[in-house]
C-alpha cells in the first residue's frame, strides 16, 4: 500500500523537508557481516565498452533529422548595457532559422536568460539557430552589438567594502566564543585564500531541443532530469505530461549541471520558433565563463584551545566570491561539525561580483573549508606541540556538535589509525631534509553528508530469456551508479550484473528519483532497486514452486539457477522464465526514509606525501593514503575510481587550477584548457585506498555515499604536507611554483 510521508534530508549542507510517496516493503535486510554474492565484488562498468568504443551517445552527439545548430552571443565586458543590436541583419543571413535577443526568451528559474544589461563577461545576450555552424557564425558577426561599458567589481575586498551581497550572510553561534577565546590558554589566528576552481566537465553544458505540437523533448547533459523537466514546465507554461527530458550518457557535471540550465531554455525557445530540432553545445571558453565554479573564499580563523590541544572556541569568517549567482555554500561547515568545540561564532559573507554565477562543485563549500580549517588545526597542533593526528583524535566527537544528534555510524577514529599505519605517519619526520627536494607528509579529516533518502523508485521486469530490465528514475552523471544498481539487482535474482539491462535518464520511463548530487544517488536508489528485485524474486520462486512442486520457501536463486535448499534441484532460471513466452514478471520498489533524529554522515582521513623542488617551486604529490567510511561498498572498483578522481581533482585545486581574472578589464584570462591547468592522469600519485565502514546499521542496505568525500581532504592534506616539508605555510592556493618560490624567499 502506498503512503505519503514527510521526511527531512540534508542536501549539500541545506536541510530540505519533503513529502514522499513510499510503498510498504517486506524485503529482508542484507546481513551486515557477509555481503552476499556479487555485492562487494569488483565489477567493470556495464557501459565501459560503449564509452571506450565511442558508441555511447552523449547529448552533444545527438543528431536529429533537420537539426539546427545554435550559437550564443555573449558579452565581452565585465558589466555593460547593450545599446543596440541588429537582430534583423542576423535573420537575413542565408540559412538562419531563428534569432532571439533580450526579452525574446522565457526566464530560467525566474531569472533572465538573455540580458540587455549583461552583468559579467560571458553573459548571454542573443542566440541564433541556423542550418550550419558556419551560417550561425556569419549571423553572429551580423548582430553588430553596441555596448556601453559600465563600472564593475571583481575584487572580493572591494565587494565587501561596498557591501554588495549575492546571498544573505549566514551567522552561526553556539556558546560564547568571545569569552571563551579570552580565557583560552592557546590562541592562534590565521587566514587562507581559496581560488575559484572551474568544473571543466569533459562534456560541456549542452542541450538538444525538439519542440513539437504535442510536446517538448529535451536531451540534456544534466544531473537532474526531473528538475530539468519542472524548470522547462515553468519557463514555457507546459505541463509535465508534455515535457520529456533525456540524458542517457553524460560526461560529468560535478555540481554545475542541475536542471536544464539556461542552455536548455535557449535551445527550446529556438526550436519552438524554428519548428526544427536545435542543438546548443557550449564552447569550452563559454563553459568556463558562464556555467559556474567553486567559489573563491577568504577565510579568517581565531582558534582558542587548552594546552592539551582541546578546542574551546572558534571565531571564523569566510568571504565568498559568488559572482552573479549561487548560494552561501557551507564553507564553515568543517569548523561547525567535524570536532567537539563548545563555543563558536561563524560568519559567512557571500559577495556579489561581476563574474559568472557560482555553482555547486563536488563538496561545495566543505572542500575549500576543510582545506583552510584543517591547516589552521595543524598550526594549532604546532603551537600545542602535538602530533597533528593526535590533535584530531583529542577533538573527536561522538555526537553531531551542532545538534547533539547521534550518528547513524561513525568510524573516523579507525580511519585515522589505518591511514597513519598505511602512510608510515610515525616516521614522517624522516622524510624531511634541507636538500633541493624537500619532502613532507600531512593529513586532513573528511566530513560530508550522504546517506540518501526518498524519493527513489525502481521497476524490474524479467521475461523469457531471464535477462532482467531494470528501470531507475535517475541519471548517471558518470559515477557508475548504473553498474552499482545492476549489482544490487543481480544479488536478488541470483544472476551476473552484466545480464542486467539498466534504463535510466528518461523522464518518460516509470518512476522518478533524486538528482545526482550530494553523494546521495546510490544510497537513495539502491534500496528501491533491491525491493523491486525482491518482488520479482518472490514471484519467480512461486512460479518455480508450481513447476517443480517444491515449496517456494525451500527454493533460492543462485548463480543463474533455481536451487532447492536441500541441494536436490538445480535448474537454470531460464527453465522457469521460458514458460513466460511474451509475458513479463514485474516488480517495483521505493526508498523508505532514514531514521529520525540521527545525523547521517560519511567520514574519512587522507594523508598526502609531497616532494617540493625548491629551485623550480614545483610540487609533486607522491602518494596519497585515502581511508573513508562510506558504509557498505557495493562495487569496490567503482568506489576506487571515485576516490582516484576525487584525489586528482583535489590535487588540481591545491596545485594548479585557478581562474585568473584581469583586474583591469574584469574578464577571465584563462578560460581555455591550454592555460587552465587541470591535472592529467599522468599526475595521479600512488594511491592507497581503503574503506573502513561496515554497513551502516541505521540506513537502508547500510549504504552511505562516496561521490564527494574523496575530494574533501586532499587539498588540506597537501597543504599540511607542504608545510611539513618546507617548515612554512602557504596561505593561498593553488600552490603554484611562483607562490612556492615567493614563500621560500
Amino acid at each position: 500500500m502506498a503512503r505519503l510521508i514527510k521526511t527531512e534530508a540534508v542536501v549539500e549542507g541545506r536541510t530540505e523537508v519533503r513529502w514522499t510517496l513510499v510503498e510498504e516493503d517486506s524485503t529482508p535486510e542484507w546481513p551486515a557481516d557477509q555481503p552476499p554474492g556479487v555485492v562487494g565484488e569488483p565489477t567493470t562498468r556495464l557501459t565501459a565498452g560503449a564509452r571506450l568504443s565511442g558508441s555511447a551517445r552523449y547529448t552533444s552527439d545527438m543528431q536529429l533529422p533537420r537539426q539546427l545548430e545554435a550559437t550564443v552571443l555573449r558579452s565581452p565586458h565585465a558589466n555593460a548595457r547593450l545599446t543596440s543590436i541588429s537582430l534583423d541583419a542576423a535573420r537575413a543571413v542565408p540559412g538562419v532559422r531563428a534569432v532571439i535577443g533580450p526579452g525574446d526568451c522565457p526566464q530560467f528559474d525566474g531569472e533572465a536568460v538573455l540580458h540587455d544589461e549583461p552583468p559579467y563577461g560571458g553573459a548571454a545576450v542573443a542566440a541564433i539557430a541556423a542550418e550550419t555552424r558556419e551560417a550561425a557564425d556569419e549571423a553572429m558577426a551580423a548582430l553588430d552589438p553596441q555596448w556601453e561599458p559600465l563600472g564593475f567589481v571583481v575584487d572580493l575586498d572591494q565587494s565587501l567594502e561596498n557591501q554588495t551581497f549575492q546571498d544573505d550572510p549566514v551567522e552561526y553561534e553556539r556558546g560564547d566564543a568571545e569569552t571563551a577565546l579570552a580565557a583560552a590558554e592557546l590562541t592562534i589566528t590565521s587566514d587562507y585564500l581559496a581560488p575559484a576552481q572551474l568544473h571543466n566537465s569533459m562534456e560541456p553544458h549542452c542541450a538538444v531541443a525538439d519542440w513539437r505540437p504535442d510536446g517538448l523533448t529535451l536531451w540534456s547533459s544534466t544531473q537532474g532530469i526531473y528538475q530539468a523537466r519542472s524548470q522547462l514546465c515553468g519557463s514555457f507554461g507546459l505541463d509535465q505530461e508534455h515535457v520529456r527530458v533525456i540524458c542517457h550518457f553524460m560526461g560529468g557535471g560535478f555540481g554545475s549541471k542541475f536542471g536544464c540550465g539556461p542552455e536548455g531554455v535557449i535551445a527550446a525557445e529556438l526550436s519552438r520558433r524554428a519548428g526544427r530540432p536545435v542543438r546548443l553545445v557550449l564552447s569550452r571558453r563559454d563553459e568556463n565563463l558562464s556555467t559556474g565554479y567553486r567559489t573563491p573564499a577568504r577565510f579568517s580563523f581565531t582558534i582558542g584551545a587548552g594546552c592539551d590541544g582541546r578546542l574551546q572556541a572558534v571565531e571564523a569568517s569566510a568571504v565568498m566570491g559568488l559572482g552573479t549567482g549561487g548560494w552561501a555554500y557551507p564553507v564553515l561547515e568543517p569548523v561547525k561539525s567535524v570536532y567537539a568545540c563548545e563555543h563558536q561564532h561563524l560568519m559567512t559573507l557571500p559577495m556579489r561580483l561581476n563574474l559568472g554565477p557560482a555553482a555547486a562543485f563536488r563538496a561545495p563549500g566543505v572542500m575549500e573549508g576543510t582545506w583552510a580549517f584543517e591547516q589552521a588545526l595543524d598550526e594549532l597542533a604546532e603551537a600545542a606541540g602535538l602530533d597533528p593526528l593526535e590533535l584530531r583524535r583529542r577533538n573527536h566527537t561522538d555526537v553531531d556538535p551542532s545538534t547533539g544528534r547521534p550518528y547513524t555510524s561513525k568510524r573516523l577514529l579507525e580511519s585515522y589509525d589505518l591511514a597513519a599505519e598505511l602512510a608510515g605517519w610515525d616516521a614522517r619526520d624522516e622524510l624531511r631534509s634541507d636538500g633541493r627536494v624537500r619532502r613532507g607528509m600531512g593529513c586532513a579529516s573528511q566530513y560530508w553528508w550522504g546517506g540518501g533518502g526518498p524519493p527513489a523508485y525502481a521497476d524490474v521486469r524479467i521475461g523469457s530469456d531471464a535477462k532482467p530490465v531494470l528501470t531507475v528514475g535517475m541519471q548517471d552523471l558518470g559515477t557508475g551508479v548504473t553498474t552499482a544498481c545492476a549489482v544490487v539487482l543481480a544479488e536478488r535474482l541470483g544472476i551476473r550484473p552484466d545480464q542486467v539491462t539498466v534504463r535510466t535518464g528518461d523522464t518518460d520511463l516509470a518512476g522518478h528519483g533524486p538528482f545526482s548530487g550530494g553523494s546521495m544517488t546510490l544510497a537513495s536508489v539502491a534500496p528501491a532497486v533491491r525491493s523491486a528485485g525482491h518482488h520479482v524474486r518472490t514471484q519467480l520462486l512461486e512460479l518455480a514452486a508450481d513447476m517443480f512442486e517444491i515449496a517456494a520457501s525451500d527454493l533460492e536463486l543462485t548463480e543463474g539457477e533455481v536451487r532447492s535448499t536441500d541441494g536436490t534441484l538445480r535448474r537454470p532460471i531460464h527453465d522457469v522464465t521460458e514458460k513466460l513466452g511474451n509475458a513479463w514478471v514485474t516488480g517495483s520498489g521505493s526508498r523508505a526514509p532514514n531514521p529520525d533524529g540521527m545525523a547521517v554522515n560519511t567520514f574519512g582521513c587522507q594523508i598526502a606525501q609531497v616532494a617540493v623542488d625548491t629551485l623550480t617551486g614545483l610540487i609533486t604529490v607522491e602518494r596519497v593514503v585515502a581511508v573513508h567510511d562510506i558504509g557498505r561498498v557495493v562495487n569496490p572498483m567503482g568506489a576506487r575510481s571515485q576516490v582516484l578522481g576525487g584525489i586528482l581533482q583535489g590535487i588540481g585545486f591545491a596545485l594548479s587550477e585557478e581562474r585568473v581574472v584581469d583586474p583591469t578589464t574584469g574578464t577571465v584570462v584563462n578560460a581555455g584548457l591550454e592555460d587552465y591547468k587541470i591535472p592529467t592522469l599522468a599526475d595521479l600519485p600512488e594511491v592507497e585506498c581503503r574503506f573502513v565502514g561496515e554497513p551502516d546499521p541505521e540506513l537502508a542496505l547500510g549504504i552511505k555515499g562516496l561521490g564527494e568525500p574523496p575530494i574533501i581532504p586532499t587539498p588540506g592534506a597537501i597543504g599540511n604536507a607542504v608545510a611539513h616539508a618546507l617548515g612554512l605555510r602557504l596561505r593561498e592556493a593553488p600552490y603554484t611554483p611562483r607562490r612556492v618560490l615567493e614563500a621560500l624567499q
Partner: protein, 305 residues
C-alpha cells in the same frame, strides 16, 4: 572554420602543385586545426593534406646521420633506437609532446613549420645541426635549422615551399644530450621554459657544447656565451653554473598567465643547468630516463598511467 578547398596529395609533386596555387599543407593537423577551433587563426582558404604522401614518411639512417621524413611523428621518433641513442635530446623532446594521441598524430614537420617559440623539438634540432630540405615547384634548397626561424610562427620558408625532410649528422663520439622543459603537469603541457644541451666530452674536457633556450625569446636559439663558458672546461659544477647563468642572461622572456618574465628568467638558469648536467651524465655513458623532464624535477611518480 571551414576551408574553401581541400585536396589530399599522394605525392610530393601533387602537394607542390597545390601549394603553388596557394594551398597550405596540413600534416597531422594538431596545430592547424586545433588552433583554428580555438580561435587562434582561421583555417587557410585552401588546404592540401600531405598525410598520404609516403615519400615524406619514416626515419632512415644514411651515411653520416639520420634523416627524418617530414611526416615522422613524435611517436616514431621515440620508437627509433637511433634517435634515442644518438639524438637523445630530440627523443626527450618528442616524448613529452602533448599526450599519446598528440604524439601519434603530430609530425616533426608540423612541429618545425609551426615555428612556435615554445615548441619542443626546435632546440635539439638546432643544437644537432639539423638541415631542413625545402622544396617548391621551382626547386629545392637546404636551410640549417638555426637559420629557419624568424619569429613566433614565422620561418624563412616561402608560401609554396614544403619541408620534405630533416637531416641530422651523427654527433661525435663522447656526445651526450638532453632537452628539459619546465612543466606544470606531466602531459598536455606547453613549455614554460625549455633548455637543450648537447655536450661532447674528450676525456674530462668539454670539446664542444651546444646550448639552446626555448620559450625564452621570440625564437628558439643557441646561446654562444653559454657554450663558451662550457667549451674547454672540465665540465665542473662551476662551469655548468656559469653556462646556465649565461643562458639566463641571454633570455628575453615575456610575462603571461603561464609565468612572469622574472620567473622564466630565473628558471632559464635552473633548467639549463639540469639539461647540461644530464647531457654530461649521458656523455659519460650514464643512464638517464627518456624523457628527462619529469625525472629531472625531483619527483618520482608511481601509480596509474
Amino acid at each position: 572554420m571551414s576551408a574553401q578547398s581541400y585536396t589530399a596529395a599522394t605525392s610530393v609533386d601533387e602537394a607542390l602543385e597545390a601549394m603553388a596555387t596557394g594551398a597550405r599543407p596540413i600534416a597531422g593537423g594538431t596545430d592547424l586545426v586545433v588552433g583554428a577551433r580555438g580561435g587562434k587563426a582561421p583555417l587557410p582558404d585552401a588546404l592540401v593534406a600531405i598525410h598520404r604522401v609516403s615519400e615524406l614518411r619514416g626515419i632512415r639512417e644514411q651515411e653520416g646521420g639520420l634523416v627524418l621524413g617530414a611526416l615522422a611523428t613524435h611517436a616514431d621518433i621515440v620508437a627509433s633506437s637511433s634517435a634515442c641513442e644518438l639524438f637523445t635530446a630530440l627523443a626527450d623532446a618528442s616524448a613529452i609532446v602533448g599526450s599519446h594521441a598528440t604524439r601519434t598524430a603530430g609530425t616533426i614537420g608540423g612541429n618545425v613549420m609551426n615555428a612556435s617559440p615554445a615548441m619542443e623539438t626546435g632546440g635539439p634540432l638546432i643544437c644537432f645541426d639539423a638541415v631542413a630540405t625545402l622544396r617548391s615547384a621551382s626547386g629545392t634548397r637546404r636551410v640549417a635549422l638555426t637559420d629557419l626561424f624568424t619569429g613566433p610562427g614565422r620561418t624563412v620558408a616561402e608560401p609554396g615551399e614544403l619541408l620534405t625532410e630533416l637531416a641530422i649528422p651523427t654527433p661525435k663520439d663522447g656526445t651526450g644530450s638532453c632537452y628539459a622543459r619546465l612543466e606544470y603537469r606531466r602531459q598536455m603541457e606547453i613549455a614554460i621554459v625549455g633548455a637543450t644541451a648537447v655536450v661532447t666530452l674528450d676525456g674530462g674536457t668539454v670539446r664542444d657544447a651546444r646550448i639552446a633556450i626555448t620559450a625564452l625569446a621570440p625564437t628558439i636559439h643557441r646561446v654562444a656565451e653559454a657554450e663558451q663558458a662550457l667549451n674547454g672546461s672540465d665540465a665542473s659544477d662551476a662551469a655548468v653554473h656559469a653556462a646556465a647563468d649565461a643562458a639566463a642572461g641571454a633570455s628575453r622572456p615575456i610575462s603571461d598567465v603561464r609565468g612572469s618574465a622574472q620567473y622564466r628568467r630565473a628558471m632559464a638558469a635552473v633548467l639549463t643547468r639540469r639539461a647540461i648536467s644530464t647531457a654530461i651524465t649521458r656523455a659519460r655513458g650514464g643512464r638517464f630516463p627518456i624523457p628527462a623532464s619529469p625525472a629531472l624535477h625531483g619527483a618520482v611518480n608511481g601509480g596509474a598511467a
